[in-house]
Symmetry: C2
């Protein structure tokens, strides 16, 4: 990671104390101590059975732009001393990063990301790494439950308007990673190549002199395969108008309000009676994983999900922490009261039955793995070596989708239940190898 400071520095997306700690460490000579930081979740959100790793690709991209240009340094003139400004001017991350690949599952204590480098090199990444992982893992974890609940029916991510405008783009990415089919967010389409989708708003119907005029215009512009929003006035009339205007080849109707299950049922009957047997039914409107699951028996073709997705469905942040676990080869950990950590650099493997079902997450001291069986799989992969991204770091989003799909297939069936419960598999901490 060399060369000039790129556009869009991420270096100030951090907490002031990271830089004042660097300043103090440069002054007292501890800045160069060899350190290991681990990013992990002490626990899953209340009642959740697994977490989904997401944000790795975004962090690695942000790391390449974590550079202090003159504008950033000027902003820090009152924060740190001139010697520290000089150090920041030359800063490039030159350490190593290992981590669970995106789309992998994690459990309490799983070492999701390990950053190895000097204290100053590694501590300075704390806030940025946590921001990205805490957001993206929260969204992907909620999204995965919705995908499970939808039982194969496609999900459209349409939550951009319910969250910060840039968080929306990251949320679309996390949802796609977790198995959503499409997103409404155009920036996510451009930035990450995610397929975009969309129907029309109620404003579209209200703009026109009547519903049929609105439908006619939409079909003329977007084709018969479009999705018409039929609940602006009266759903039954709306469906009749839709088929009258578009014909029985109409792509889909969307219903955004009311008792969605009952509405879907009536809409299917009406569409079939009109001969529009191939017209799909899209439901939206305050759906979450529980509502989606409750609609399994109804004739629904796809779901649009917004608010609950982008707010993590009750768990808007993943509770990840970034902890110093090793200094110059010596394990360290906080020891006061409630928030204890396990010192020492760790790795992890997942143990499976011969049938392929996961049974246990084993977290063990790095470099001293326990005897591994034929059905064990080590989880972290190298992402950065000496400051340079590895081939694993460039994994496409499609691979992460597939990884998650496979990981969920391997979870014991209780682990896929939406109800509150224990983690799908237990984590065992091996303290000696």
């Amino acid at each position: 990671m060399t060369g000039p400071v790129p556009e869009g520095s991420t270096a100030l997306l951090t907490d002031r104390y990271e830089l004042t700690m660097v300043a103090a460490a440069l002054a007292d000579g501890t800045a160069d101590r060899a350190c290991v930081f681990e990013l992990f979740a002490r626990r899953l959100p209340d009642g959740r059975r697994y977490g989904v790793v997401a944000g790795t690709g975004r962090l690695l991209a942000a790391l390449e732009r974590f550079r202090f240009g003159e504008a950033e340094l000027a902003a820090l003139a009152q924060v740190v001393d001139p010697a520290t400004l000089d150090w920041l001017r030359d800063y490039r991350f030159t350490g190593d990063v290992d981590g669970y690949p995106e789309g992998e599952l994690y459990f309490p204590g799983s070492p999701v990301l390990t950053v190895t480098g000097t204290f100053a090199d590694a501590v300075i990444l704390e806030t940025l790494a946590l921001s990205i992982y805490n957001h993206d893992c929260a969204i992907a974890s909620a999204a995965a439950r919705m995908v499970t609940a939808s039982a194969g029916r496609p999900l459209i991510e349409m939550g951009s308007r319910r969250t910060h405008e840039e968080a929306a783009v990251a949320a679309a990415r996390a949802a796609y990673l977790a198995g959503f089919a499409t997103t409404s967010n155009l920036a996510a389409g451009r930035r990450y190549g995610i397929p975009t989708a969309g129907t029309a708003a109620h404003a579209w119907v209200l703009l026109h002199d009547d519903e049929r005029a609105a439908f006619r215009s939409q079909v003329a512009a977007l084709g018969t395969g479009t999705t018409l929003l039929v609940d602006t006035y009266d759903i039954r009339t709306g469906i009749a108008n839709a088929v009258e205007v578009a014909g029985t080849g109409l792509g889909a109707v969307r219903i955004d309000s009311g008792d969605l299950g009952e509405m879907a049922h009536q809409a299917r009957e009406q569409l079939d009676a009109l001969g529009a047997t191939g017209t799909r039914i899209v439901l939206s409107g305050d759906l979450d994983e529980y509502a989606i699951a409750s609609l399994r028996a109804e004739p629904v073709d796809s779901y649009g999900v917004g608010t609950s997705l982008v707010t993590g469905s009750g768990a808007p942040t993943a509770g990840m922490v970034y902890k110093l676990v090793e200094v110059d080869g010596r394990p360290v950990s906080k020891r006061s009261t409630s928030k204890e950590s396990r010192g020492g650099r760790k790795s992890a493997l997942r143990r499976y039955k011969p049938t392929g079902t996961a049974v246990e997450e084993i977290v063990f001291p790095h470099g001293g793995p326990p005897a591994t069986g034929p059905h064990d799989r080590e989880l972290p992969v190298p992402l950065v070596r000496g400051g340079e991204l590895t081939p694993d770091a460039a994994a496409p989003l499609e691979d992460s989708r597939e990884r998650l799909r496979a990981a969920l297939v391997a979870v014991p069936w209780e682990g896929l239940k939406l109800s509150r419960g224990e983690p799908a598999i237990p984590t065992t901490f091996v303290t000696e190898s």
Copy 2:
């Protein structure tokens, strides 16, 4: 808003359907119909008594960068037709915007923002406006409750690591607007001039050979006025070490874990016994407005708040919607099932007692205000006229802080309770003037 396309276009931070609606409206001739869209909350989050308007300044800044450059147009080549691409190339918002100023309170149905323009000009802003308001209002509304709960003790915003990295910057802004004293977020300091603050992490103590070495180094680098984190090992020993190293002039100690009320009590006794009577006590660690309120009787000097702040303390999105209410002077509204809206452009005033206490929010048809009394105050101000920002649009953040402070003083005392309840004042909808 003319001139070349600025850096950092915001134009793709939107939903695909906004642009396909524009395309269809350009094709059928309705794109130029005169429209009014209103942004409002149908209800407050469950049990909340008021909302705080925030995001106006950010939206107006984003509006100036809502322009389609060649890169954005290239990304849309598969989304809309060439005629629409041409229209987007020339797009500049040329309409009007009125709104509640930042820091003002809002209630269910308050017309927080009104966008007037052609259909195409105004519909295209829906997603961006909602993203910004739904996020920033959620954070500011939670923050205001924490400020009330803190009863004058300063609050430090330190939640960056718990939310998306750019949402973190906006959250710091919203918290400051709501009365927080400082933020840990350096980008917020640079972008918005918010005072930044910070202490040190547990990693700082763990890095060193012992706690005293860490404290000595921090004091040497940051001065005696710094805040030492005393709960890495044993709090009592930590405080003894802190005063031994820094002397009785030590600025503050921070405690981040344990029974915070009891810890504060013991820490105060110990500090006083050591002669450090001026050393302040900073508490942090999973604080929310309820925890802060419960600490009122304890000897605490300031609070660091993270997770609960940036996640809106249980209400991570404000539930704002953006609805078409008028087309060519004709009121329009959705009429199907549960999600009804009131058609027609509206304005609002707040009615006060002679004592200055607010009693009622009155929402009335625009242009036909009810007879106003001497203690009524009209709420919306002009923000954009013919696409150009007004002087009101440039209100500094300090003014918004002061506006909120004054608005909360005027709320009936029940309205400041943290417990669940009805909105602090009722909203009356006047349908005829």
